[in-house]
């Protein structure tokens, strides 16, 4: 067993992957707690898909795709509200339009970039074993920023999440808080994409948080429990990937899903 755990750490790429896995396992579920309790799953998925053009551009101009994804994620997070307001459409419809358009643009850019070697499957499914030192630094920087943001906005996020009308009445600019949450979400998605890919980052956002939602009561407990469950899932997935030559993103997702199935089979959340 000790050998099972220590053998992979003789490789520097595995050490990096382990750091990456812990960051994903902690950060995605921390934000995931908001995704689950504020019904943000659709926008979370959309943001993950919508950063593809940024990553493609990063490849084309030789910037680390994780760095290039950051401004794209933030821009799309801002655009959702602007498009829905300007066109008088529901936020869901605006998200649907942006999501599809940006994803299509990303795929188009990747197909045009014939002079560089990109494995589209790695982008879509994640390739944590190939995460670069720069990728780790970006993830660490984002982690610091997001934790600071969650700390500063904590009480405001609680208020606007629970009672949006009441928070507006006391003069809180709820749209600023909502934007801030989307920006934090976009940042965390950039960490998640490196490990789990565009498609499966959603799993790390939603599944550990949903599992924690069934297990514990208060929001802050859900955040911490989700981060614990997320870390277990991502690290276990990484080891399974190393030892059994499995793709890491799907392995992490399936471990997280397994935990959810076990918990959901004996716990049910009752509300209002």
């Amino acid at each position: 067993m000790i050998d099972f755990l220590l053998a992979p750490l003789e490789y520097s790429f595995m050490l990096r992957a382990l750091v990456g896995a812990v960051l994903v396992g902690v950060m995605c579920p921390l934000l995931g707690a908001y995704v689950v309790t504020r019904n943000l799953a659709f926008i979370g998925d959309a943001l993950a898909h919508a950063v593809l053009p940024g990553m493609a551009l990063g490849f084309m101009v030789g910037i680390n795709p994780a760095i290039a994804a950051v401004p794209t994620g933030i821009t799309v997070a801002m655009l959702v509200r602007a498009v829905s307001r300007r066109a008088g459409l529901s936020a869901d419809t605006a998200i649907g339009i942006l999501f599809a358009a940006m994803f299509a643009l990303g795929l188009m850019m990747l197909s045009m970039a014939t002079n560089i070697n990109i494995d589209v499957e790695d982008l879509l499914m994640g390739q944590i074993l190939a995460i670069s030192p720069t990728g780790i630094y970006v993830s660490l920087a984002i982690t610091g920023l997001v934790i600071l943001g969650l700390f500063v906005f904590h009480h405001w996020l609680l208020f606007t999440s629970f009672d949006p009308v009441g928070s507006q009445v006391i003069g809180m600019r709820t749209s600023v808080v909502d934007y801030a949450l989307l920006v934090l979400l976009a940042l965390v998605i950039v960490i998640g994409i490196q490990a789990a890919g565009v498609i499966l980052v959603m799993a790390m956002l939603v599944i550990p948080a949903a599992t924690a939602y069934l297990l514990v009561g208060r929001f802050i407990s859900i955040m911490l429990t989700a981060a614990g469950l997320g870390t277990v899932a991502s690290v276990a997935g990484l080891y399974l990937s190393f030892h059994f030559n499995l793709p890491a993103g799907p392995a992490m997702t399936l471990v997280a899903t397994g935990l959810f199935v076990v918990v959901a089979s004996f716990r049910r959340r009752v509300f209002a």
Binding site: H155, F162, D163, A272
Partner: protein, 249 residues
Amino acid sequence: MNAATDSHHHASMSLQDVTVELDGYIALTNVTFNVGAGTLMGVVGPNGAGKSTLFNTIAGLLPVGQGSVTLNRVDLRRGALAYVPQRDSVNWRFPVNVMDVVLMGRCCRLGWLRRPGRKDRELVRECLCRVGLWDYRSSLMTELSGGQRQRVFVARALAQEASVLLLDEAFSGVDAGAQEVLVEVLQALRDEGRIVLLATHDLNNLSRRFDQVLCLNRHVCACGAPSQVFTPEVMEELYGVQFSMDGEG
């Protein structure tokens, strides 16, 4: 005298010719009334009478199309006004406990960077004791009854040190005993000089407990003491049927 019970609330509120248009139709026409400090006012009227529109306008959630809403002698700092939400405007999926909710009342005093300190927590304790829910401080909001939830929101308004409290349909889904407890809490706040406005479409025995009643049906049908406004003529204008205050219409 402590922070939760001091009597520095001497607001008076005045609405002058307020007209509000909502999605192309006139929801309120020329609404004019005054409420003095230390008044418990009931806002009654049938469904669709514009009670929520009136509250949303006072709360600044809807723009005043015409006319004015003024809070005289109220320090117009943020948080002078508190809102006890309707049941369906709250995200009950979001799991917060009683203490969390009352601490939210301190947000507007703390600003962005300050965290709630010992003084804030002490104030929250006083506010929860006042509404009789200190023993429930660790309970999730979803574990409380309708009446207890409303009292938590009242405690939050106290923690906010608000001078004006708006309660929209606070009695819906609340049993008679719990309504009585809630009215007693509101009367105590009134006695400290606060203005308490409570909207209800349900004319029940508690209507007699208000100091003033505003009868609203897109316009002000009557405004004054319950004994003056609950007349058959006003009731007919409000509900369109003959109405006896001892029974149903």
